[in-house]
């Protein structure tokens, strides 16, 4: 059986979560590998959440927020940009492919965009293979 990656997606409440809702309402199909977690703002996503996801069995992590300038909280997503850039750097230094973490913008009207991101990310992570875990983990 081919490798089915597990991907955790942090969705901001105002844009991306609603974009994902819209994909559902429109009955588009998205990759079932992606498991959404709602946060109020992508700026709430602590780096440790991403690391925790990898530790708990994720092979990839998506962070989705409002487009720059459209943040419900004015500028939370700008903080996210910087945090994710630093975190990707850290992941590389730890020997983890930084493609396992991806930051994207999905607005409340972009159901189609949400869906394509889920497939793209699933394929991207499928190519990378299971997350390298020493002590097992669910994909161990």
């Amino acid at each position: 059986m081919s490798f089915e990656p597990k991907i955790v997606a942090f969705l901001c409440n105002w844009c991306s979560y609603r974009g994902a809702d819209l994909a559902g309402t429109a009955r588009m199909k998205s990759a079932p590998n992606v498991r959404p977690i709602r946060v109020m703002c992508s700026g709430r996503v602590e780096p440790v959440f991403v690391l925790k996801a990898f530790e708990a069995g994720a092979d990839g992590v998506l962070v989705l927020g409002c487009h720059p300038g459209d943040c419900h909280y004015s500028e939370g997503n700008y903080k996210t940009i910087r945090r994710i850039a630093l975190l990707k750097n850290l992941l590389s230094q730890l020997g983890i492919e930084d493609e396992r973490l991806r930051l994207e913008w999905v607005s409340a009207s972009e159901g189609g965009r949400f869906v394509s991101i889920t497939y793209e990310m699933t394929e991207q992570v499928r190519k990378l293979g299971p997350f390298p875990r020493r002590n097992g983990g669910s994909n161990g």
Binding site: K29, S30, P32, I37, V39, G43
Partner: protein, 655 residues
Amino acid sequence: MEDKARIGVYICHCGSNIAGTVDTKEVAEFAQGLPSVVIAKDYMYMCSDPGQNMIKEDIKQLGLNRVVVASCSPTLHEHTFRQACQDAGLNPYLFEMANIREHCSWVTEDRDAATEKAKALVSAAVRRVFYQEPLEVREVPVNPSTLVVGGGIAGIQAALEIANAGHKVYLVERAPSIGGHMAQFDKTFPTLDCASCIFTPLLSAVGQHPNIELMTYSEVEELSGYIGNFKAKIRKRARYVDEDKCNGCGTCIEKCPWKAASEFDEGLTQRRAIYTPFAQAVPNVPVIDTEHCAYFLKGTCRACEKFCEAKAINFEQEDETVEVEVGAVIVATGYDSFDPSVISHYGYGRYDNVVTALQFERMCNASGPTQGKILLKDGSEPKSVAIIHCVGSRDKNYHKYCSRVCCMYSLKYSHLIREKVEDAEIYQFYIDMRCFGKGYEEFYERLSEEGVIFIRGKVGEVTNRALTEEEQGKLVVVAEDSLMSAIIRVPVDMVILSTALEARADAEAVARLFNISRSADGFFLERHPKLAPVATTTEGIFVVGCCQGPKDIPDTVAQASAAAARVLAVISKGKVEIEAAIAAIDEELCSGCKICNLLCPYSAISFDEEKEVSRVNEALCKGCGVCVAACPSGAITGKHFTTEQIMAEIEGVLV
């Protein structure tokens, strides 16, 4: 935790919406085995009364102290189930929702994959709810005043409804007069009511209403605060005419020697540099257009000042910023008309007798550029007119959407042409006739009997290159008649372009100003297309009329009244609940580094110099959690989105 967690889990079938793809029985059995779960059930419709009662009964009978419902999106029914919990005596923040419909059954084809994903989402919610804590919802009083932005039919209707109910309204309009697009119209479909006969009384009612403070030639520059307690900064642009002194006699306009193209007449006539947009303008106070006024351009003239008996002209006037406090905001900023010159093969701007819908509308109006006569540029009457539908609409090159009003106003034009030029040939080039409203299909039928020729087909070109004698000196409309499967050439004297309604050019900036979203077509996005069509994702901000999407006058008025009712509901309740899920700082842990002070977009965190710790102002915090994520000491808790809760959710979702 003080009490042992006792969790109840409820899996909704949503008819076949969920159960058609997800094995809800299997999910319920799975949930039953999760830690601290006392009871797990599946049921046809959890949001129904029996569904909600089931939860309430179980809370009481089984002593549940945590509830998870796996059903639709929390944006739809979180409130419903929180209320059910509260009714049964459980704090609403001890409820959690798993979205297994929009995020699972509706987006997944494979039943096994959908069931697995549903289990993961339920497991995440169960693990998360374990750590959830009761929160107190705070109530704050509501300011009973309302800000209405935009003085077209939408804004006017909303303002009058609220003002008539006895509450203060600030009505802000960018143009020198209220009226918007409707003031430009001659007749309204399908009743052919004279637009100004039904509209002018509303304009003057606004102008005279004791509860409406009208601010024309003004724009909202800044909005802060939250539902019940907004603060708006409004820039009142200098008119250079004192509103209190001016008696509206119009002498200044007569005497002004400088001219510019009239916006109101769509460039078909000229207005003076000091002007009121139209005769029934409210307020009936002119403005000086500094871009065309000789005094502002060259430093001389002042003819208006010389002849003004009321001494109302004031060249020294400056823009003024006023601040108002309101409880709710209604955004009614309207639409822009699509500029057809970008479709160069239709010849707008190149051929004299190719006009836009709004230009033709003005031409039909008795106070318009031709005093209501339908005339070609050379002053003669057209013997044949082509009306081209869907110019900029239903066209993937411009706007994919249907503008909803063009079929009907095109029919109206046919009638007006028939009325004014009895023997004119009238051609309608349409893709589909969309006559969906009350009395609309009947109007279409009536027009069909008035000798209008309907040609189904998209027009490829309007040209003056004649191929036959008959086409000499005419505008030739080249189209495919898709019912005949033939290319046809129709020579006419005049072409009317039924142009699309599009989002305002500055809609993006306005959306940011009011913190609302836009849909892919650029119009403002409603909170829910069916259940909350005038609300937005920001509580207390409503959208009405064409700024939310193209619509006709009846729909616009209905929306405006709906928004007014929503605002009045907030006002009459007198208080609003403020989000309890906000940040809190543990003073024991705070190192006083002030990182959070700078991060907060609402300046809700201040520094207590004496204790050397940061402190959250609960009224200002909106609970985004940016500070929580940034605190190096872990001293800030994001209530209802605590690190513990999210970590548990991550573990749960990866089961």
